[in-house]
């Protein structure tokens, strides 16, 4: 079997880890394709949701399929609009599976390169929250520009937003910011530093 040739480093294969983290047993999917039919971004994905489920079903035996799912653009394009979960005849929480794939791709540094702007945005967002406890929109957008290199994007929006009073130049802060920092240190930061 190809399982020997591609010995997987983790003891538990990916479908088992997904089950453990999300409670979703991918084996229950019978490939009706309703999720892919309803997904607003299926056309932009490298594998539509039903194919991700299929990859996961086979990932225990063929580790290369686990790699394809983890390195997919799909995981990062999923908007969590929940339409797939809503329509799934087996009531499989596919958005939760996408969350699990993102978490693992991030930990194992297997994020699809096409998702770099999306990831840069999420990181800029959480950094802002970590420091002030609330999202500071202006600071986050500047941070995103630095991370993504898209310096000119929306440059003309900012003065208009400022004029109509939608853009603040100073952040709002949570009083107990130390507690927020502790929460971040025990969650996202702890996990990202784990090999």
């Amino acid at each position: 079997m190809s399982g020997e040739k591609h010995a997987h480093p983790a003891a538990e294969p990916l479908p088992g880890r997904v089950l453990e983290q999300t409670g979703v047993d991918v084996a229950r999917c019978y490939q009706c394709g309703k999720c892919s039919a309803g997904c607003p971004l299926a056309a932009e994905m490298d594998y539509p949701p039903s194919q991700i489920m299929h990859l996961l079903q086979l990932a225990g035996e063929f580790p290369e399929f686990a790699e394809m799912a983890l390195r997919s653009h799909t995981a990062w394009l999923c908007l969590t609009c929940e339409i797939c979960y809503c329509r799934c005849p087996m009531e499989l929480d596919i958005p939760k599976v996408m969350d699990a794939l993102r978490h693992e791709a991030l930990r194992k540094k297997k994020v699809n390169p096409k998702a770099k702007d999306i990831l840069a945005f999420h990181r800029a967002f959480l950094d802002s929250v970590k420091h002030t406890g609330r999202l500071f929109e202006m600071g986050q957008v500047v941070d995103y520009k630095l991370r993504s290199g898209h310096f000119l994007q929306d440059l003309l929006q900012a003065p208009w937003m400022f004029l109509v009073g939608k853009l603040h130049l100073l952040p709002e802060r949570v009083r107990d910011r130390r507690q927020l920092k502790r929460i971040f240190a025990r969650t996202l930061k702890a996990r990202e530093n784990r090999p």
Binding site: W76, D99, R102, I183
Partner: protein
């Protein structure tokens, strides 16, 4: 019944007119809306995309603070924040071990006593709302619920997940004519507004096209993200579609305020990218001149 208010970050910044109109309306209704003490960001899409525990801990800290203050329910007008708070409460009440672990993270014993309420539920519970209507909002409206008010259905347990009616009923009470349309709960592109503006322009464009082609005069929303994408991103939508869309996007609380006869400025209508004005019709809209009166 003590109701707390969780504004969330958007309503303090890019969606401040949602907050302004809500508070203006609440004053007329005689309802006090004290903010949840020292509230923090709910973590939004970014947190649940990157870390499961963080995505639960941030909302849990908010809910624990509301609980400590003795609030029986928390009004969360932003649909995205509502979803995060509601999902967190659900997950923690379902799983005792998880509840204990997240309680440890937020340094409070979270019990789940405060309920999470969205803006439509809160308004629908106001008795005799129609009696407060001074200037019926006699326009054809497309009620846009978006994704997160109604899904996942098993968790939010609010209205139908694909053909909801609650906002339509509320609009009808205010004199509006809700239209039948296909994009009530289709996704606007949500958190991709900055990182994948191209996709937001595509998805939000489909929503506007359907609303306009079925004769809607305004799109009504209950979410700052939906508003941002349909209103502030209008130039991106128009560029992609190669056509102009004049249809305004109005918060549910702004429509209520207009119907109550509150001045448009108090409701923050001047802060929209797309001007809130209508072609002369059967009835004038407050602050806008019309040729014929109803």
């Amino acid at each position: 019944m003590k109701t707390g208010f969780y504004p969330g970050c958007s309503m303090k910044g890019s969606a401040r007119e949602y907050s302004e109109s809500l508070l203006a309306v609440a004053r007329v209704l005689g309802r006090e809306l004290p903010e949840v003490p020292d509230w923090n960001c709910c973590g939004a899409t970014a947190a649940h995309n990157l870390d499961h525990d963080l995505a639960l801990a941030l909302p849990a800290r908010i809910l624990a603070a509301a609980e400590k203050k003795g609030m029986d329910e928390v009004l969360v007008p932003c649909a995205a924040c509502y979803s995060r708070l509601k999902v967190t409460r659900h997950e923690l009440l379902e799983d005792e071990k998880l509840r204990q672990r997240i309680s440890g993270l937020v340094e409070a014993d979270y019990r789940g006593s405060a309920k999470v309420v969205n803006i439509i539920e809160w308004l629908a519970a106001v008795p005799d709302l129609e009696k407060l209507v001074k200037k019926p909002f006699q326009r054809k409206v497309a009620c846009y619920y978006g994704c997160l008010l109604v899904r996942p259905a098993g968790i939010v347990e609010f209205d139908r997940p694909e053909e909801p009616q609650s906002m339509d009923l509320l609009m009808a009470k205010l004199g509006a004519k809700p239209i039948d349309w296909a994009f009530k709960t289709e996704c606007c592109g949500a958190g991709f507004s900055v990182s994948r503006t191209d996709l937001v322009a595509k998805l939000s464009g489909l929503i506007l096209e359907d609303a306009v082609s079925r004769g809607a005069e305004a799109v009504i929303v209950a979410c700052p993200m939906c508003h941002l994408n349909l209103d502030l991103r209008r130039p991106n939508i128009e560029k992609r579609a190669g056509k102009k869309y004049d249809i305004p996007v109005i918060y549910i609380t702004q429509v209520l305020g207009l119907a109550m006869g509150l001045p448009p400025k108090k409701l923050g209508l001047q802060r929209h990218k797309v001007a809130v004005k209508f072609a002369p019709a059967e009835s004038p809209v407050p602050g806008v001149s019309a040729k014929r009166g109803a």
